[in-house]
């Protein structure tokens, strides 16, 4: 179950033979995946994306120093609410996961699980040097490196830690990517 929900799963082509076997004369059967694939080519997707980019709810999950700036970005006076970016506590309600610190070997399975629990379309972005390149802890015995090979990361926000304004800028970048259909979270890439 957990493996099926990873980022690669919705990029695979749908099994078409099965759909043909169950076809009834006079009735067109389809799957939600096919509808999805069809919609991506139409103007409806633009409207969907407009909605999606304006309600990027992120999972508040402080992991390190950047986590504090993440909290600050979520509340007054930075207040990301005005962009429709609202901190959520549960991964089930979130669209964006923010890796805000050093991923250790012990925490990595939990992080993967949180990512799997989020419903797609979902986006992930790295905040801070630790998750981008290891930061000051790149040589540590207990951290996992090269996070970008594991998660489909859209935006990297450098800084140690980045300012809350930079985190908001990261959200703006992700909005731009969604608008131009270049994000990795919706699965446009083949």
């Amino acid at each position: 179950m957990a493996e099926e929900l990873t980022s690669q799963s919705y990029e695979q082509p749908a099994p078409k033979e099965q759909a043909q076997e169950e076809s009834i004369p006079g009735v067109i059967t389809t799957t939600s995946r096919e509808i999805n694939e069809f919609l991506k080519k139409t103007k409806i997707q633009d409207i969907l994306n407009w909605g999606r980019k304006n309600s990027l709810w992120f999972m508040s999950q402080p992991m390190g120093c950047c986590g504090v700036e993440l909290i600050v970005a979520g509340v007054a006076p930075m207040d990301t609410d005005r962009f429709g970016i609202i901190p959520r506590n549960s991964p089930r309600q979130a669209d964006v996961m923010i890796i805000s610190g050093y991923v250790t070997r012990k925490y990595f399975p939990a992080l993967k699980r949180l990512w799997d629990q989020m419903p797609s379309p979902k986006w992930v972005f790295c905040v801070g040097d630790c998750s981008i390149s290891g930061g000051p802890f790149y040589e540590s015995y207990s951290t996992v490196q090269n996070i970008d090979e594991i998660f489909p990361i859209d935006v990297f926000v450098p800084g140690c830690p980045p300012r809350p304004e930079a985190i908001i800028q990261g959200f703006v970048e992700i909005q731009k990517k969604i608008e131009t259909k270049k994000d990795r979270g919706s699965g446009y890439e083949g």
């Binding site: 992991m63 120093c65 504090v68 509340v75 991964p91 925490y107 939990a110 000051p136 830690p161």
Partner: protein, 374 residues
Amino acid sequence: MDTNIGPDEMLIHMGPHHIAQPGPFRLNVKLKGETVQDSDVEMGFIHKGIEKILESKTYLQGIPVVDRACYLAALTNEEAFVGCVEKLAGIEPTERSQYIRVIVEELSRIQSHLLGYGEYTEFIGFMTMFFYPMTVREKILDLLEMTTGARITHSYLRFGGVRDDLPEGFEAKCKEAFALLRRGLEEWGELMKSDTIYRERTVGVGVLTPDTAKEMGVTGPPLRATGVDFDIRKDEPYLVYDDLDFKVCTETAGDVYARIWVRVAEIYESMYIIEQALDQMPSGPLFPENLPYDRRAPVMRVPEGEVFHRVEDPRGEMGMYMVSDGSDKPYRVKIRGPVFPTMQAMPPLIKDSQLADVVAIVGSLDPCVSEADR
């Protein structure tokens, strides 16, 4: 903890991602009905091996790394590290830089307590209350930023002094921010103290007695809330705390309510310390003249020896034990953080309380998980 559960018992894992936790750690709670029977803390989710990394860095390179041991008390961490090296190398910082250090460390204490205060109110369900301290905290961070150049991780202290002098207009900005903070604290205090629900949730919850707190090695605000006036700034004065007039803030109840008001009282006290320090601060150089090395030299060989230096963190007793073998890197650094014993005291503290109170009790201890994991 015994994980075998009876017919009417339940095992709940809180964490590692849980909203009422300031960082990732796991609390395994065994419940009977709503009452906590037993619990167990699992940690190390952000263990990054700081002690090992420090062994591979020169002394100057070590300063940014200890900054990140606890991101809410970066300056006091630095003070412990820099103090260790100064004691080993026999450097005495100049008086002016000692005063500047006191000022920035107390500012750091204020911002940490404000976040603790705000976060705590959020944990017990006062989401709106969270925004007020965070707004004023920005003003304090502005002061820190104009002095040190960074909001959270400063790398400001140097062996024998500080990197830069206080900027122009610092005092005026300080006055402005403190006026705002004093007014705010009064307002929020009235708001919280008059709220029946808040009192119901906090008074008499998670009570620590002085003897159990001492037995568990708890320091800082949780200990002072039980009435023990243990404060390293008084008991083992470092910097110029000897010349400054301040009192150790204590309460007697030892419950969640008392812990919060100890923090609030400490914010007032820190402001008082800063105002005194600004008044008394002498002019003079930032670094002593007879420094045994160039102050920007990346490599400095510290004489052989070992030292244990303690400072008062916003969360309690912060100590560093440093062993030097005469080379340009420390042979061993042990960081004794205040949160480590405080987190250890969680299971006995939440025993026999209600599940809904677990969040209130854990939040009131204000644990900075990063520092406990290191």
